[in-house]
Every structure is written in C-alpha cells, then in structure tokens.
C-alpha cells in the first residue's frame, strides 16, 4: 500500500529533524564527548526517586484525576508563589506529561486555522511543528547576539498583525541561554498591554537562572490574565524521564486545555506525580545545589570559548552556551561534522534551531567538569587545524 496519499498532509509536511543522522553517527563512535544533549547529567535526587518507589510499593498504580493529584496541584501553587511570586488557584493548574504536552495543548486550545503565532528564534524545535499541526501560522521573530538573544520589543511590535493570536515566550532560552530580566520584560509588557495576544511562557529552565532570580512575565502587572505559564520537573529536578510538567493560566484557557488533555492523555503518570510532590516539598536545596554546579561549568565554558576564539556572550540561563563560529567562515553543519569526526566532540549546529541560528553552535554544559575541560582542549586543537 502506498501511504504517501493516505497520510495526513500536515503531518507529512512537517520538516524532519535534520540532525538525527548526525547524532546517530556520534553515538556509534568511541570516545566521543557529547555536549549535544538537552537534559541534565544529574540523577534525580534520591528522596524523589524514593517517593516514586514508595508509591509503587503501596500499589498506587491507577489513573489519577485528569487534572492531576490534588496534593500535587496544591504543592505546585505553593511552589509558584514561593519561587516566582505567582499566585494561582489550584483549579487553574493542570499537571501534564512534561512541559511538552502543556505546550501542545495550550497551542491547540487557542489556535484556529490561519492564526499567527509569534516565536522568537533561534528556539526549541517543537514550537513551530505544534503550531503547524493546529493549522496556525508560525511567525519567527529573530533574536540576535547583540541583544544577547533577548526578545526585542521593537521587533515584537513589528511582527504583530491583526491575526496574531499567541506569543511563545521561551526564557531562559534553549538553545541560546538568553534570559529576560525584569527591565526587559517591562518593554515587552508595554507592547502587549493593549492587545488580546496570549503569551505562552515556557519557563522550564526558570530555576537555572544565574546572577539573580528568574522573573515570570505572568508576575508583571496586568499579565496574569494574558499568560499561560508552562513549567515542569525535567530540568530543575533532573527528572526528564519521569515526563512531568504543568501549566497554570486563566481559567477559561485551562478548562479547554484540560478538555483536550482528558481525551488525549487521561492523566500524567501516577508514579511521577507522587515523586513530584516530594520534589516540591523538600528539594529546594537540591535544585539550588545543581544550579550552583551548572553555574560553575557555565563560567568555565564561556571563558574557555572566548579564550580559544569562539565569541560567546554570557548566557544568563538554562545550560547552554551559544557561541558564534562566524570567525571560522564555516557553516554550522560543516563545523559540527568536522569537530565530531576529527576531535570527537559532539555539539549541535545552530541552524537546527531555525535559520537565524546559522553561524552558531549550541553547547550543552549539562556534562561533568572534566568532560567540559577536555572538550575545550579538543575544540582548541580543532580551531588550530581548520
């Protein structure tokens, strides 16, 4: 049977990830240091794993309520208030399968065919395909190195049309490490305040903000009613494999999101939800210790990259450095392939995150200090050879 005329046209038209082949090759080579992965190298803190095991031990293996365990949603509201001064009613919190599901159902809840969705770029690879599948139109707004990859309020203003429905607001940013501090948010808020544009604030890296606390755009005056906050346990608590996230936002949006979630997912994994209650109750110190370790590596990698001649701005968040490789005259793809094959260091070409990422590479510092130092030595040798 020939499926090419049978499969969903929208799904067929999604661009395949161009770098999978590259990283499959990397995984088959020996002695490769991968600074390519986008997840913590830490294990989930033991007390969290224990809470998951205990829940299994007690046989808590049924579905939970669609919206998530009441105790967990309550802890989430406390956490959001404690860490980010965000006040939410428990009924406006939905527990999801990772931040990814929250992003997906938020977009699906809001987008009608033809609606425009603004996406700062370079960005996480999933946003545009999710918008495309909803029949929306993704409109990239290029962020640049001179602005330390912040969303520029002028560029935002220019991109807004009568069809603009949603702004995806991904800070701290994957892949750039860029962040928006309060003074930067103020300018964005000024542009949005007289519009009906909804903000999907993807704050999955919020706890990994260096040199000051993360400020949520939802905590800015007048923004709570316009914003859906997405967060989760993957990055802050090193819980990627547990697949657990959540969204909090205006009741009307949350009701529709919950409706889709009920039909598509039923509920987030029960074991993960029990573990997450423990995470929120007793792991503030653990996540701060992990953030301190990332910060140390961040300083080493940024100093090292600039020293060996790859210009890199000081990224204020996440666990990525996004240096420019323009001085080499190579494309990002060629640079990364050469680095992998001649020096066995895997990093991600910047154009994987949108055309505007060309000329950059993403380096993850979710890797041990010794790996980072060795990788820097290898990169220095590579730069001398090319």
């Amino acid at each position: 049977m020939d499926y090419s005329n049978i499969l969903s046209r929208r799904a067929m038209e999604l661009k395949p990830s161009g770098i999978r082949k590259f990283f499959n090759a990397a995984s088959e080579m020996d002695d490769v240091i991968s600074l390519g992965v986008g997840e913590p190298d830490f294990r989930t803190p033991w007390c969290i794993r224990k809470a998951g095991i205990d829940s299994l031990d007690k046989g808590k293996t049924w579905y939970t309520a669609n919206t998530g365990l009441a105790a967990l949603r309550e802890e989430i509201t406390r956490y959001l208030y404690r860490r980010f001064e965000l006040e939410y009613d428990v009924k406006d919190v939905l527990v999801t399968v990772g931040g990814s599901e929250a992003i997906d159902i938020c977009v699906r809840s809001l987008i009608n065919p033809g609606d425009e969705v603004l996406i700062p770029e370079p960005c996480f690879v999933a946003y545009a395909p999710i918008v495309d599948l909803s029949g929306g139109k993704s409109v990239p707004i290029v962020t640049c190195e001179e602005d330390e990859f912040r969303l520029n309020s002028q560029a935002l203003r220019k991109a807004i049309t009568p069809k603009t429905k949603l702004l995806i607001f991904p800070f701290p940013n994957n892949p750039t490490g860029g962040i928006m501090r309060r003074e930067h948010l103020e300018k964005i808020v000024a542009v949005l305040k007289d519009t009906d544009i909804v903000v999907l604030s993807d704050e999955i890296y919020a706890e990994l903000t260096y040199g000051g606390r993360h400020v949520s755009i939802a905590s800015m005056p007048g923004m709570k009613e316009k914003t859906v906050v997405v967060n989760g346990f993957s990055k802050a608590y090193a819980m990627t494999g547990w697949r657990l996230g959540y969204a909090a936002g205006p009741s009307q949006v949350m009701e529709v999101m919950n409706k889709i979630h009920q039909y598509a997912i039923m509920c987030a994994p029960t074991t993960s939800q029990y573990a997450a209650i423990e995470a929120l109750k007793s792991c503030d110190e653990e996540i701060e210790a992990m953030a301190a370790e990332y910060n140390m590596r961040r300083r080493v990698i940024v100093e090292g990259l600039n020293r060996i001649g790859l210009k890199c701005f000081d990224p204020g968040g996440a666990f990525y450095a996004f240096p420019s490789i323009k001085s080499t005259g190579m494309t990002s793809q060629d640079f990364c392939e050469g680095l992998l094959h001649s020096k066995r260091v895997a990093v991600v070409p910047g154009d994987a995150f949108g055309e505007s990422g060309e000329g950059f590479i993403r380096i993850s510092y979710a890797s041990s200090m010794d790996h980072i130092l060795t990788a820097l030595e290898r990169m220095e040798a590579y730069l001398q050879e090319i």
């Binding site: 992965v37 997840e39 990627t240 090292g304």
Partner: protein, 157 residues
Amino acid sequence: MYELLKLLEHNARYSTAQLATMLGTTEAEVQAAIAQYEKEGVIRGYTTIVDWEKTEREYVSARIELKVVPEKNRGFEEVAEQISRFEEVRSLRLMSGGYDLAVTVVGKTFRDIASFVAYRLASLESVQSTATHFILRTYKENGVVTEQSKDERGVVL
C-alpha cells in the same frame, strides 16, 4: 567557603586559572587561599587515585580492626603513633563502635600482610585483638567510581 577545597579534593590537577574561573574569582586569590590552606595544614597533600588492579604490580591490601587497651594518660595516642610509623600502613583511624583502630595495610602478597599483622601489630603490648579483612575489589575510591558508566542520554534537542 569550602568550594575551593571540594574542587581540589575532586581533582588536584585543576590549574589555578581554571579554579579561578570556576569560582568566579581571580587567580591571585586562589593562589593565596591555597597557600593559606597549606600553611594551616587544612590541605595535607596532593595524591593520585591509582587503580592498581589494572596494572601488573603485585598488590594486596587489607583492612585490620584492632582492639586496643588505652593508656592511662595518653589514651590511644601512643599506640597510634607507633602504628603510624610502619611503612605498610596507609591509613589509621580511631573508630567508634566494636573496635578501636581501623588500619589499612598494603603489601605485595597475602603472606606479607599476614606476617605484618602477626609480628608487628599483634605483638604490640596494648593490642588486645586483631581482625584482618582482605580487600577483594575496589568499586569506589575518594569519590571516584572505578568503572565509568556510559552516558545513556540520547535525546538531543
């Protein structure tokens, strides 16, 4: 701030420049702090973690539990000093619990260690009893796991 000590304990070969970057301070400050720690004896020395099992060297180590009669005025100090002086002794600690001194001893063969225990340790006047446990395999030493586990993380983006 114990961060500097923790870093050096993890890897004594970090350069002062690397340490300064990690800690967000200057090389001069790192050098000064290390000098001070060395002077105060907080830093006792720098060593290398060797996995002798991977070499051809004949090597046996054992952990010996000693029960000791403390001396009237000096407690365990006297016998601890005596035992510390033996070259075969790699570490010596006073313990709480079922015995008093924990001694780690290395030698070339099991017989070396057996005769060390019999002739040098057991013969000390204040030593009441010895229990010798040979070390069969080291899985982790100074915080370093001997068999490195593979990075299982696969998803890139």
